[in-house]
Symmetry: C2
Subunit: 373 residues, 2 copies
């Protein structure tokens, strides 16, 4: 299936697989929904894969079909941007486990004709990457000029050269980490418990009647959203300012602007995301620990790759703080891999990688140009 | 009503009030449950009031009647401790709005014979302090040798000299703040939404049939609990260690120790705490902003007091970080109030004030002795 969007191409492909998963199960067929921008050159040397974050999707630079909003990384990808379709063949695919057209708990299991729901196999970040590799095979892409991602997208980008050391030339990892910390797991567990506590969740089998666990998913999103913002950013944006009525109600309505903002974040999220997908993707992130998969040595994961690496962190990001990027850089240097690193200053916390940040654009642009020089 | 506990005296008193509340309502009668330790001396110069935190209670140094655990601050209060009943007449009362015997949403409204539930008036930290002052009047206590509290207890302690400048000689504020920040409000709002999303909550009217909103309250507690611990402390305590079975299940059971720990925190909390009380007390904390009540000037709040102040923060506390204590110290100095301040080092984050911390005991001991010299 395909139709024209603003300037991307909306596509979905069914690959036979089966895809052998880290958890021992096999997934097949494997549906992958993706967008492409630009065209592959003759020697296939201009392909860039963009990896999306937890609640992201393939619409990196095209309008979102249900919200109508511009692509989530239009500041980075598009004409005149660092990742320009005039120069590159750009691919962004929906991760497996998600809900925007790739195989996930909400998609129909061909064996039963019913949604997988919680019978969908638990996946890992590496499984998401292996599915992307299947898509590249399908598209006739042998090597990636670059793989780029922020947050969970950065986890996939960093995993790429560990699984396919010969297929990646440049790797850009932004606001990310090489392993999920105890605090990261803890926040995810709160979100999962909120979803599972919603009586509409019903063990995940809520697709038939449309009564979805919106309240639980909304609470999960609210808790997560706090971790995407910095304390200073929240203070600057909202402080203790009251809503328009400007006086305290001494009640439980949203008196403070920050309450109203958070409630809105929760409510708008449930309209575009599947609760079971939230469970599966957060679980994949919690299992993520590249060193663990290489005998406890992060450096060992990168000994076979020839890729160049670019790491970027933000000084106010407390979800994946700068220390996590430094750990990766040290491991890359120990493995003899060329790696540059920069910590950018931003008031916006983890979300900075999605927001207006000219320095980030300059870093990505310079690194990509350096790789072609 | 009164009975002997280990060495405290378990008491509850009904004061006629009415207590005029910040929100405009009046509360009366006002039930206050409290514990005392030691005896008042002839000139009444040895009275110390201990203020408890959000989910704390009056059992500061006596076994908790339902959990059987030692008092929540047995390390600080008791024979041979800095706050010793051999030296002081020590009072700790359950805040109004709570659920351990003081007037709150779970207590019966004498006017209707039914629990107040959400018809209980919204209260503030200052209202809690005014209720404590009523109790002191009842006990014949004119002046406090000291008022001491950590976290929300510190908010009450800091409010005391602003409302009753002549009744406080020494004020010890630990791991606290002069106002709730946007991030503080945001985390509380997540907890409240989790409770209200629980279908058992039913607008707060769940007392009759015992089907309480346990799932929502448990999620609220889990989210809050993360904010009480430091990232480093969580990593040290749990890291990414798996449960005893030691292999990943690739499922949604609690694979990681930190998940199991958080779930336990949620489940054990709902056995001892009322969900509506959680709503009312978090709301009181969100409304807390001492400067706002004094024309925007924190210093102005303290110009009339003669009290000495002692501020303590912990370097890994990100809920009420050191910067918040510094703001208070600057305001106290601007007001001409004697104030000492120390930032202690601890791996335990906000919870440090409740845990083994010999330095904290030395600071409190030294400050109290200095006040009597």
């Amino acid at each position: 299936m395909s139709d024209d969007s603003r300037f991307g191409l909306r596509r979905q492909v069914r690959l036979s697989g089966p895809l052998a998963l880290d958890g021992g199960a096999a997934l097949g067929p494997v549906d992958i929904a993706y967008e492409t921008y630009g065209a592959m050159n003759a020697d296939g040397s201009n392909v860039i894969l963009i990896c999306h974050a937890l609640t992201g999707d393939q619409y990196v630079a095209s309008d979102h079909p249900s919200t109508g909003k511009p692509g989530w990384w239009w500041r980075m990808v598009g004409p005149g941007k660092p990742v320009d379709p005039a120069d590159y063949f750009i691919i962004c695919s929906n991760v497996i486990g998600s809900c925007m057209g790739s195989s996930g708990p909400a998609s129909v299991d061909p064996a039963t004709g019913e949604p997988h729901a919680m019978r969908f196999p638990v996946i890992t970040i590496a499984d998401m990457v292996r599915a992307q590799a299947l898509l590249l095979d399908h598209l006739g892409v042998d090597r990636l000029c670059a793989v780029i991602g922020g947050s969970m997208g950065g986890m996939q980008a960093l995993t790429w050269p560990t699984l396919f050391p010969d297929r990646v030339e440049n790797c850009i990892v932004i606001a990310s980490t090489a392993r999920h910390s105890a605090q990261n797991i803890a926040f995810h567990e709160v979100g999962r418990q909120a979803i599972m506590a919603d009586p509409n969740w019903r063990g995940g089998d809520y697709y038939a009647d449309g009564r979805v666990p919106s309240a639980g998913l909304s609470v999960a999103r609210m808790a997560a959203h706090i971790t995407y913002l910095s304390e200073a950013g929240l203070t600057e944006k909202f402080g203790r300012r009251l809503q328009a009525r400007a006086t305290k109600t001494f009640g439980f309505d949203a008196d403070f602007q920050v309450e109203s903002y958070l409630r809105h974040q929760g409510l708008s999220f449930v309209e575009r995301f599947d609760a079971n997908s939230y469970l599966f993707i957060t679980r994949a992130m919690d299992y993520y620990d590249i060193a663990e998969d290489h005998g406890g040595s992060l450096a060992r994961a990168f000994t076979a790759t020839k890729a160049r690496f670019c790491l970027v962190s933000f000084d106010t990001d407390w979800l994946y703080p700068t220390t996590e990027s430094r750990i990766i850089v040290h491991a890359l240097h120990a493995a003899g891999a060329p790696a540059s690193f920069v910590e950018l200053s931003s008031p916006f916390g983890h979300d900075a990688f999605l927001l207006e940040c000219p320095e980030l654009n300059r870093v990505v642009d310079g690194f990509l140009k350096g790789g072609r020089a």
